[in-house]
Structures are given as C-alpha cells and as structure tokens.
C-alpha cells in the first residue's frame, strides 16, 4: 500500500466511527457542573473569610487584641493574604498564546505558583506566630488563670491548624511537582518535532 492509500484508509477508519455523544445528557451535566462551580466558589470565598476571621479571633487573646484597631488589623491581614495570593497567580490567569506549548507553559507557571503558595503558607504562618509570640509569652507569665487558659487554647488551635496546613502542603506540593514533570515531558515531546528548543525552559 503506498503512502497515499495508507493515509486514505486511515482517514476512512477514523471517520467510520462517530462516538455517540448524548447531547441531552451532556447539557444536563453541563448545567449541573455550572451550578456546582458557582456554589463551590461562593462556599470557598465565604469559608476562607470566616476561617481567617475565626483563627485570628481565637488565636489572639483579648489582652493582646489591639483594642479598637483590631478589626482593622484583621482586615489588613486578610487583604494582604488576598493581594499576595493574587500576585502569585497573576501570571497564571492568561496564556501567552493558544497553542499547546503556550498551554503547557501556563500549566508550568500554575504549578510553580502553587508551589510558591505552599511555601508561603508553610513559612509565612510561623512568621505571623512569631510576631504574636512575645505577647503570648508576656500574658502567660503575667495573666490570670483565664488568660493562661486562653493562651493554651490559642496555641492548641493554631498548632493543629499548622499541622493541617503542612499535611495539605505535602499533598498539594506532590501534585504540583507531578504536574510540572508532566508539562516538561509534553513540552519535550513537542520540541522533538521542532528540532530545537523554542520554549526557553
């Protein structure tokens, strides 16, 4: 069989089967997916805000709260978290171009941003704890029993939360590393067909 016939027969084989796509079911699933995405997004934002507020509220004993400035401090920390998170993901929202290499580069950037986010959480949280540590120390040594109990509760809650963050970081970091490896592999597969490295890896 010559090359032309071979290609023609492949085309016939390929087009002879049309996978049956149940459009009605697909549209139903699509609608469900859209609703689910909206619910998850809302849930995500609301729980993140509540969790941050609660943690700051529980984590800082009343004697350490900065009086009337406390709400402003909390809002500032939350705002800083949103800005840092946004900055990390800024380069991951849009692809340079719409070819496969552009998409893979985007995937790589997202995975790197994900890793940076993990490190930010793992190293950033101890810094926040360190800022409040002298106050806790002072309260532990000078406060009454109730204040000491509050310090203990704060330390327990924050330590448990930090362990959860570390466990999440390990899981998420592994996932991102796997994604980066795969993106590199696929970019190499594309590169093989170009005869050179166009993608500045």
């Amino acid at each position: 069989m010559n090359s032309r016939d071979f290609w023609q027969s492949l085309k016939e084989d390929w087009q002879s089967v049309s996978p049956k796509v149940d459009l009605v079911a697909l549209r139903r699933q699509l609608e469900r997916k859209r609703r689910r995405m909206l619910v998850f997004m809302t849930f995500d934002v609301v729980t993140a805000l509540i969790a941050t507020g609660l943690l700051l509220g529980i984590g800082i004993p009343p004697a350490l709260s900065f009086g009337p400035a406390m709400p402003w401090l909390m809002v500032t920390i939350m705002w800083a978290a949103v800005v840092i998170g946004g900055w990390l993901r800024l380069s991951t929202w849009k692809t340079d171009d719409m070819d496969a290499a552009g998409l893979l580069r985007l995937g790589l950037r997202r995975a790197r941003a994900g890793m940076a986010f993990v490190w930010l959480n793992i190293f950033g949280m101890p810094i926040i704890y360190a800022i409040f540590a002298p106050g806790f120390w002072h309260l532990w040594h000078t406060g009454d029993k109730m204040q000491r109990d509050h310090v203990l509760v704060s330390i327990s809650v924050n330590a448990a939360f930090y362990l959860v963050v570390i466990a999440w970081g390990v899981w998420y970091g592994r996932r991102q590393r796997r994604k980066m490896r795969r993106a590199h592999d696929l970019l190499q597969q594309l590169e093989q067909n170009e005869g050179g490295n166009r993608w500045n890896l």
Partner: protein
Amino acid sequence: MDEAEFNAVLEAHSGMLGRIAASYEAEFSAREDLLQDIAVAVWRALPKWRSDGSLRSFVARIAHNRCVTHILNERRHNHAEAVEEVLVDHGADPQRDAVNCQRHERLQGALRRLPLGQRQVVTLALEGFSHVEIADTLDIKPNTVDVRISRARRTLADYLEEGA
C-alpha cells in the same frame, strides 16, 4: 451566545469532539468527563469566536487545548490503555459496524501512543483538515505540520503493524 446557538454548535461537532477526546483518553468515564470539560470550554469561548474564521477550527482548537490540560491534570497516565467501551451509532449493518469499530479502536490506540505534537496534527488531518487549517488551528507553522505528519505517518504504520 444563546442556548440554541450553543446546542447547534455542539450538535454539529459532537462526532469530531468525541473522536478528539478519545484520542487523548482511553477510559470511558474519564472520557465522558473530558467531553463535558470540552463542552464547558466551548460554551465559554464561543462569544470570542469571530465569524470570519472557521468555526470547526475554533472548536477543534478548544477541544485540543482542553485535552492538553486534561493530560496535565490527570492523576495517572491512562490515555494509552485499551478502550474500555466504545459508543457507536449503529447503522443498518452491525457486522460491518463491528469491523469498523475494531479498526477504529486499533487506530485510536496507536494514536494515543504518538507524541503530543504528532497526535494533534494527525487527529486533525484524519478529521479532514487541510495542512493550512491544521497550522491555523494549532497556531503552528505549516512546515511544522508537514514534518509532524510525515513523522507520525511512519510511526503510526509501525504501531499498526505491531498491533495487527
């Protein structure tokens, strides 16, 4: 973009979308999910489509991009395994359909083993896209299309011979 337009686009390209999804994903349920993702991506992107371009190329590009993202995000590499289930529109001759189905499956299996760049151009070429249309769809140079197709043809012939 109203729903009727979107439905019409999905209906007109469902065969091509199903085949493209199958060239990236062998497992049936994962392929269904991939198809859903492609449909969502088409729905989101359609307002950006300029009517002076080819709608088929536009939809094919979205499908391929979605498939690349799918490969990146999947938990394990399973796209090269055998197809578990193939849904086919059965025609009047079930025996001929079965033979076609078998040959199609073998071709899909061989296609899934191709490197990404070759797989993309071959899938579109088999859909009947010209080399210029493929270059436009994948945003690559026409001579890159030629190189990839010529390499893929040799590799495909080897793979199909192995499986024969």
